[in-house]
């Protein structure tokens, strides 16, 4: 049964032989790594031992127990790099030959192999130096030369020996000083993008460009600069972003084309900037002038053109605001493009369209900028012609302003009628009846109050139950009476112009003597609109609270429009009428639908309660509701 491990396997690998496919034994497996899970093996060839990192794509071999401590494995694909004067092997592919096996031979394990693990970057531990009596090893060449002087049994008491230092290992004369390995000119092996990490020695990847960013110029304390990025996808589905600065931009900007496959090597690996980089990789490649980018002219069909992870619209309803995701759906409506003034004073285009998928739900997709005129116009024309195309969105941003909607960002890519299984499935579903199924929009839902019947609560429950404190707002219904309204300022001057299908409603300022100016629409006009903005105190049997009410609720409470009230108060000097209206609304009972959310104003937390709707009491319904409550409570006491 005992099998022979490949003699001198460790020495050979350290010497640069990465083709031998040796048999070695795994003496130890440790999980290390802070952000990314990495396994570190201690490999033995029966005589010598060496640490090896397992490439992440093989992680589940350990997790599923296909390789364990004691396993004899054959290394199929592996490389050896030098990190901080230590040689680290990286195993890219291996096969387990024997799952469980006693320790073969008498491998020499150095003391700090058995110390608790630490991430590679920290290097040798200081405690090792202290315990090595008299042997100051300030410069470590290859650590596997620290041999134990006494014999070591694997399960035994390992603290008792003291390591002594022997002369540094010299590679056999063949590998000394000359040869491709030393000068590092041999072509690097192609490794999967998922295996890339900063501790990698030489690497090369072969991948397709899925996105190419614009050339951006910037200006900072160090002067002017330019930068551009592009995204890569390889045959294993790994993705990574590549960024070039300044002179490097000139070298590669014109070479890189979306859709083409390149072999890239000699770049540096740094942590990805999560703000801009939405790819699933913790690293990002930065190219230098010494990097190489070689076009692969032959078509590599093993690398997909694009990689999506589509979420059904039903999942978007629960997605976190500002998260980035991919969606695919049938375009059912396309609105005209409208100009929007941005905060920085620049004007851009906005176009809203609706996507529907097999969940029967629709979601609003907002196109910004160039998307409006390119894909937006194309989609518009198609829908006008009665064709409802499939649209795939890569890297759209979730917005929760009104229900959930998706908006484009600079990194977004749109694909009309893409060639994919999901698109085909959608087309099939839509044409066979999906078109006519009732649609429910997740975008308008929140404003209309979601379900028809919000939970009924009393006012003190707001405080008692800590409503509004979680990430999402709480929506409740209360039956309460208006006890006071602040009337010094009950409305504001609003912009009446239409933006697409909605009224602007932004507060307008006086310009000159008679005109009004809206900053957003950048227009002046004679007549402005008046919209309610009320601070109302409401009370019920349990307590009272202040709420803010807007136009709709205001009209329900007062029974007249904000404009009429404004006119009575200020222009016609008809104080009597004004007072009468105000008096009449006091002590009227309503069912208020409230939106409760705690918000930060400066440095304090304030509970903001907004009236979404104010409904007059329907006595029949309310009676039935009360009877129901009575019977519920009554049952409870028995």
């Amino acid at each position: 049964m005992p099998v022979n491990l490949t003699a001198n396997a460790i020495a050979a690998i350290n010497g640069g032989d990465v083709n031998a496919k040796p048999l070695v034994q795994v003496l130890d497996i440790k999980l290390i790594g802070s952000s990314q899970e990495r396994y570190r093996f201690l490999l033995s060839d029966a005589v010598a031992t060496q640490h090896a990192m397992l490439a992440t794509q093989l992680n589940d071999r350990v997790k599923t127990g296909r390789v364990r401590k004691g396993s004899v494995i054959q290394l199929i694909e592996y490389i050896c790099s030098t990190v901080q004067n230590r040689k680290i092997i990286v195993v890219l592919n291996m096969e387990t030959i024997i799952l469980d096996c006693d320790v073969i031979g008498n491998p020499r394990v150095s003391e700090f192999d058995l110390l608790p693990e630490k991430p590679l970057s920290s290097g040798p531990q200081p405690s090792v130096n202290n315990s090595v009596a008299g042997a100051q090893n300030s410069s470590r060449t290859s650590y596997n030369n620290v041999k134990t002087s006494s014999s070591l049994n694997q399960g035994g008491n390992i603290q008792s020996f003291r390591p002594t230092v022997q002369p540094p290992y010299q590679p056999p004369p063949n590998y000394k000083n000359h040869g491709a390995i030393m000068r590092n000119e041999a072509p690097a092996r192609i490794i999967p993008i998922a295996a890339l990490n900063p501790y990698q020695g030489r690497w090369a990847i072969k991948a397709r460009v899925t996105a190419k960013g614009d050339l951006r110029r910037y200006n900072n304390a160090r002067g002017d600069g330019k930068v551009f990025s592009f995204d890569l996808l390889d045959s294993d589905g790994g993705e990574i972003r590549v960024t070039c600065f300044n002179a490097v931009v000139d070298r590669f900007y014109d070479t890189i084309e979306v859709g083409k496959v390149y072999v890239i090597s000699k770049g540096s690996l740094k942590p990805a900037q999560k703000n801009f980089n939405h790819l699933k990789n913790e690293w990002e490649i930065f190219l230098e002038t010494t990097s190489s980018v070689d076009l692969c002219p032959d078509e590599d069909t093993s690398i997909p053109k694009q990689q999506f992870s589509f979420r059904p619209i039903s999942e978007i309803a629960n997605a976190e605001s500002n998260s980035i995701l991919d969606i695919i759906g049938v375009v059912v409506t396309v609105n005209p493009s409208v100009p929007i003034m941005r905060k920085n004073g620049m004007e851009t285009q906005r176009r809203i369209l609706n996507l529907k998928d097999q969940s029967g739900l629709t979601v609003e997709l907002t196109l910004w900028g160039d998307f409006c005129n390119r894909e937006g116009q194309q989609l518009h024309d198609m829908v006008e012609a009665g064709i409802f195309p499939i649209l795939a969105v890569k890297a759209g941003k979730v917005n929760d302003f009104s229900g959930k909607s998706i908006g484009t960002i600079s990194a977004t890519q749109l694909f009309i009628n893409p060639d994919s299984a999901e698109a085909a499935g959608l087309r099939n579903w839509f044409d066979r009846g999906g078109k006519d199924t009732a649609s429910h929009s997740i975008t308008k839902e929140a404003i209309l109050g979601g379900m028809k019947n919000e939970t009924r609560k009393c006012l003190t429950q707001i405080k008692d139950e800590g409503l509004g404190r979680s990430d999402k707002a709480d929506w409740i219904a209360v039956k309460a009476t208006v006890s006071f309204i602040k009337t010094d300022s009950f409305c504001y001057t609003a912009c009446p112009l239409m933006i697409g299908d909605r009224q602007c409603n932004k507060k307008v300022t006086k310009s000159g003597n008679s005109a009004w100016l809206c900053d957003r629409c950048n227009q002046e006009f004679e007549e402005c609109d008046y919209r309610y903005l009320l601070q109302v105190q409401i009370q019920d049997y349990s307590g009272m609270t202040w709420v803010t009410a807007f136009q709709e609720a205001g009209e329900e409470i007062f029974g007249c429009s904000a404009k009429e009230l404004y006119v009575w108060k200020n222009e016609m000097q008809d104080d009597l009428k004004y007072l009468e209206v105000v008096q009449n609304c006091l002590f009227r009972e309503f069912i208020f639908k409230l939106k409760i959310k705690e918000e930060i104003y400066g440095d304090e937390q304030k509970l903001k309660i907004t009236v979404v709707k104010a409904d007059k009491l329907n006595y029949s319904e309310e009676s039935r509701f009360l009877f129901d409550s009575i019977s519920k409570r009554h049952m409870a006491t028995y």
Partner: protein, 106 residues
């Protein structure tokens, strides 16, 4: 407010429990005689209410008075309740007010 002689909420069925005592009921006016009203109680049975009905009465009228038989009330106070009234809710109130929650009313 004089709470010494509370009027019990009744429909036709509960009226018999309060003969000779003060009651209140909402009646749907079927026939108006000038001196009395033939009406339908909230549990769909006919009652006679004597007294001075309002002129004109609306479809629904509330009467408060003494029950003088298990089918008639001698009303002292009449109030027009309009033409829209939720009869079933009122009927439920009558049942609750004389059943489990009687202690809240009488």
């Amino acid at each position: 407010m004089d709470t010494s002689n509370p009027a019990a909420f009744v429909n036709a069925e509960l009226l018999r429990m309060y003969v000779g005592r003060r009651v209140r009921a909402v009646i749907q006016v079927l026939r108006n005689d000038g001196g009395s009203i033939f009406g339908k109680s909230t549990d769909e049975q006919e009652l006679v209410v004597k007294g001075h009905p309002p002129n004109p009465p609306t479809t629904f009228v509330e009467v408060i008075g003494i029950a003088d038989s298990n089918r008639s009330i001698q009303a002292e106070i009449w109030t027009n309740f309009g033409d829209n009234f939720d009869v079933s809710s009122y009927n439920t109130i009558c049942q609750l007010a004389n059943g489990d929650f009687k202690h809240l009313f009488i």
